[in-house]
């Protein structure tokens, strides 16, 4: 139990650092999603099942989806793909 808790906390911290260092916004969002999911397990270990349900639905579901949609609207995904295509094939 102790080991699992430490491992999850380490994972949360590592993904938080990775979010700030990674250049690609899409990867940053995926890392943030993973962090929220780990947080939901931490709530279970802290004996708060209510929080775990809410965090699983909100943190890794709705917040991430909203950021995804915003990013989609900002053309970020689209332009990035085009740049990669151009760099990869020419």
């Amino acid at each position: 139990m102790e080991a699992l808790s430490t491992l999850l906390l380490l994972f949360i911290l590592v993904s938080a650092v990775a979010v700030s260092l990674v250049k690609d916004l899409l990867s940053a969002i995926i890392l943030f999603m993973a962090q929220s999911t780990a947080m939901a397990v931490v709530w279970i270990l802290l004996r708060s099942p209510d929080l775990a349900i809410t965090e699983a639905a909100v943190g890794s579901g709705i917040t991430t989806l909203l950021i995804f949609v915003t990013l989609k609207k900002l053309h970020a995904i689209h332009t990035q793909k085009e740049v990669e295509n151009r760099d990869g094939k020419d």
Binding site: S5, T6, L9, L10, I12, L13, A16, V17, V19, S20, L25, A28, I29, F32, Q35, S36, M39, V42, W43, L46, R47, S48, P49, D50, L51, T54, E55, V58, G59, I62, T63, L66, I67, T70, L71, K73, L74, A76
Partner: protein, 127 residues
Amino acid sequence: MLSKLMGHSEEIAALILFGIGFTNLLLNRNMMKKIIGFSMMDSAIYLFLASYGYIDGRVAPIIEDASAPLEVSAYVNPLPAGLVLTGIVVSVSVTAIMLALTLRLYKRYHTLDIDAIAILAREADPE
């Protein structure tokens, strides 16, 4: 010292997460990264609060048998969980408002860089 640090593992993780989120919010120029940093600060504070409700060897505050005599020392502290639960849901709406404002800024200035937005805004309206 080390044993003292290990005894506070959850709080220390929460505070380091708070520091990372704060740095992201303060020093990253990309608005989306700023928003993610803000959400991280949120979850760090929730983790810090909820870790003080936890007491070793006790169970979640849900009574299983109402007819049995109530043992107060069997349950963890329910107060932080109640406070955090509403906070998590409200943080979504805060994030949504920030994202909507970002969208409006992007529609006007075509960039996510906060410095570039500041320059363009000053140029458009010198006062």
